[in-house]
C-alpha cells in the first residue's frame, strides 16, 4: 500500500499542519500541537464539547471542530487514542466557564486518557462524559454500552453541538448527547484494508472477491466474511440489522448516513443509498437530512457503513440547526 507521505513518524503532524493551513477556522494548539480548536477560541458562557480519538479517520475527529459542533479535539497517532496531555489540553481549551462534555468513541485507550485528564482537572473544570457506542456489530444488544463508536458519532456531535450553542447547561448538553447516541445505530462492511504508516503490512487481509460484514473501523473482525454480493443485498442486510435494533420508542423519522470508509467511490455510496432509501420508505420511515459521503474514514480502507439516527422532535430540530465545519455545513 503506497502513501503520499514523508517519514511515517511525521504523518499525523504534517496532516494536521495541512488541515489547519487550508482551513483557517481550525487552529492547532496544546502542548504537543495535538489539539485542534476553533480559531475564535472557547465562547464564554457556552458549555464546551471536547472530543478526541486516533488519527487516520479524517474528516473525523478533528474536522468536526466548528460552530454548532465541537469546540476542541485531541488527536492521537494513527489508530491510537490521544494521550492524556492532549486530552487535558482539549478540555481546558473547550472550557468557557460552564464545564465541558467529553464526547468521544468508546475505545479503551481513549477512555482511559480522557478519564485521567478529567480527574487531573477535576478541581478546575466540571466535566461529563458521553461515549459513542453506535457500532451494533461490536457487542450484543444486552451489552450495548460496550459497543464501539463509529461513524454515527457525528450525529451526537451535531446534536450536542447545537444544544450547547443555545447556552444550555452542562447537564442538558450531556443528556441530549446521550440521547443522540442511544438513538443511533451503525453497521459497516469492508472490502479492502488500509495500512498504518510505517507498518509493514495492511491491517488485515481479505480475498479479492470477499466482503466482511460488521468489520470495525480499524479492521477489527466482523460478523461474517463471504463472497461479494450485489449492492442491494448488502444494503438490505445492513438495514435489516439496523432496523432490528431500532430503539423501543422510535418514531417515524430517521436520518441516514451512508458513509464511505475511504477508497469506496461516491458512485457506490449512492447505489447503496438508493436501495436503503427505498427500504426505509417501505418500512414506513421518513428520511430527514440524509448524508452520503466520506464522513468517517479509515484512510484507504474500502467499504461503507450505514448509520440510522432515530429522531424525536428535539433531536430533529437540533440536527437541522446551523452548523459549520470544513466538512459539514448545515443551514
Amino acid at each position: 500500500m503506497k502513501k503520499l507521505m514523508n517519514a511515517p513518524a511525521d504523518f499525523v503532524d504534517q496532516a494536521l499542519d495541512g488541515l489547519t493551513l487550508a482551513n483557517p477556522s481550525l487552529v492547532r494548539d496544546g502542548e504537543n500541537g495535538r489539539v485542534i480548536r476553533r480559531a475564535e477560541g472557547a465562547r464564554k458562557g457556552k458549555v464546551g464539547i471536547a472530543s478526541g480519538g486516533g488519527s487516520g479517520h479524517l474528516p473525523l475527529f478533528t474536522g468536526y471542530v466548528g460552530k454548532g459542533l465541537l469546540d476542541t479535539c485531541s488527536i492521537g497517532n494513527v489508530f491510537e487514542g490521544p494521550n492524556v496531555g492532549s486530552c487535558m489540553d482539549a478540555i481546558k481549551l473547550a472550557h468557557g466557564g460552564r464545564g465541558v462534555l467529553r464526547l468521544y468513541g468508546n475505545y479503551g485507550g481513549d477512555r482511559m486518557n480522557f478519564d485521567m485528564a478529567g480527574e487531573m482537572l477535576e478541581d478546575e473544570i466540571r466535566t461529563t462524559t458521553v461515549l459513542g457506542t453506535d457500532d451494533i456489530a461490536s457487542a450484543a444488544p444486552e451489552e450495548s454500552q460496550k459497543r464501539r463508536g463509529v461513524a454515527g458519532i457525528i450525529y451526537a456531535y451535531k446534536i450536542a453541538g447545537a444544544k450547547a450553542e443555545t447556552d444550555a447547561d452542562l447537564d442538558e448538553v450531556t443528556e441530549i448527547a446521550a440521547r443522540a447516541v442511544s438513538a443511533t445505530r451503525t453497521i459497516g462492511v469492508s472490502l479492502a484494508p488500509c495500512q498504518v504508516p510505517g507498518s509493514a503490512k495492511p491491517t488485515f487481509t481479505i480475498g479479492d472477491d470477499e466482503i466482511e460484514m460488521g468489520m470495525g473501523i480499524h479492521g477489527e473482525p466482523g460478523i461474517w466474511r463471504n463472497k461479494l454480493k450485489p449492492a442491494d443485498e448488502i444494503a438490505d442486510e445492513m438495514l435489516d440489522r439496523l432496523l432490528a435494533e431500532a430503539p423501543k420508542n422510535a418514531g417515524s423519522e430517521v436520518s441516514i448516513l451512508v458513509n464511505g470508509l475511504g477508497a469506496t467511490p461516491l458512485e457506490e455510496l449512492f447505489i447503496l443509498y438508493r436501495r436503503a432509501a427505498e427500504k426505509l420508505g417501505k418500512s414506513g420511515l421518513r428520511i430527514v437530512q440524509p448524508l452520503v459521503g466520506n464522513y468517517v474514514t479509515s484512510m484507504e480502507m474500502a467499504g461503507a457503513s450505514i448509520s440510522l439516527c432515530f429522531l424525536d422532535d428535539e433531536l430533529k430540530t437540533l440536527l437541522a440547526a446551523p452548523a459549520y465545519c470544513p466538512f459539514w455545513r448545515v443551514g
Partner: protein
C-alpha cells in the same frame, strides 16, 4: 544482588527496546487476529521513547520511573500503552525518594500496578489480558530476593500464564464478540509481556 536501582531500570528499558525490534511484527500479527494489529508498533515506539528518555543525573528511583511514565504517556494513547504508563506511575509512587529498592518488593509493586491498571481499564482478572500475566508474575516473585532468580521466575510465570490462557476465551474488547474463536490464540498484551520478561531473563 538483592536491590535494584536506576541502572537496573535503565538496563531493562534498553534490553526491552532491543527485544522489540524482533517482536514488533509478531505482536502486530497477534493483535491483527483479535483487534487492530498495532500492539507491536505501538510498544516498539513507547519502549523506544523510554529508552531514549533522559533521566536526570540526580534522579532517585521514583523520579526515574516518573520520567518513564511521562515518556510512555506522551508517546501513546493506546490501551496497552496507557496501562503501561499507569504501571510506571505506580512504580514511581512506590519508590519515590529512594535510590534503590529491594527485589523482594518487586512482587508487591507489580501487584499494586495490576490493581491500578484494573481500576483504570475496567478489566478483571481472568479476562485474558496483560493483567493475567502480571498477576502470575507478581505471585511468582513473592519472597524472591535475587535479581537473576527474579528474572527467571518472572519469565517462567509469564509463559505459564500465556500457555494457560491460550485455551481460554478473550473477554474484553472487540474479541469478546467472537470469544470462542479466540480460544487457541494468544492475547497480544500477554504475549508482549511474556516475551519481554523472557528477553530480560535471557540477557
Amino acid at each position: 544482588m538483592s536491590d535494584f536501582g536506576i541502572n537496573e531500570v535503565k538496563w531493562a528499558a534498553t534490553v526491552s527496546a532491543r527485544a522489540m525490534v524482533g517482536l514488533e511484527q509478531e505482536l502486530n500479527d497477534a493483535d491483527a487476529k483479535l483487534g487492530d494489529g498495532d500492539t507491536g508498533g505501538m510498544l516498539a515506539r513507547v519502549i523506544g521513547a523510554l529508552d531514549g528518555a533522559t533521566i536526570a543525573a540526580d534522579a532517585d528511583l521514583g523520579a526515574a520511573f516518573s520520567t518513564y511514565a511521562r515518556a510512555a504517556a506522551t508517546a501513546t494513547g493506546s490501551s496497552l500503552g496507557t496501562l503501561f504508563a499507569t504501571a510506571l506511575m505506580t512504580f514511581a509512587k512506590e519508590t519515590k525518594g529512594r535510590s534503590s529498592a529491594p527485589i523482594t518488593e518487586l512482587g508487591p509493586m507489580l501487584g499494586k500496578a495490576r490493581d491500578t491498571m484494573m481500576a483504570r481499564g475496567g478489566a478483571k482478572l481472568g479476562d485474558k489480558t496483560v493483567l493475567d500475566g502480571l498477576d502470575a508474575v507478581a505471585a511468582a516473585l513473592e519472597g524472591i530476593s535475587g535479581g537473576s532468580d527474579a528474572r527467571n521466575k518472572a519469565a517462567a510465570a509469564a509463559l505459564v500464564a500465556l500457555d494457560e490462557y491460550r485455551g481460554k476465551p478473550n473477554k474484553i474488547g472487540r474479541a469478546r464478540m467472537f470469544a470462542d474463536a479466540t480460544i487457541g490464540m494468544d492475547d497480544p498484551g500477554m504475549l508482549a509481556f511474556a516475551k519481554l520478561c523472557g528477553a530480560l531473563a535471557q540477557d
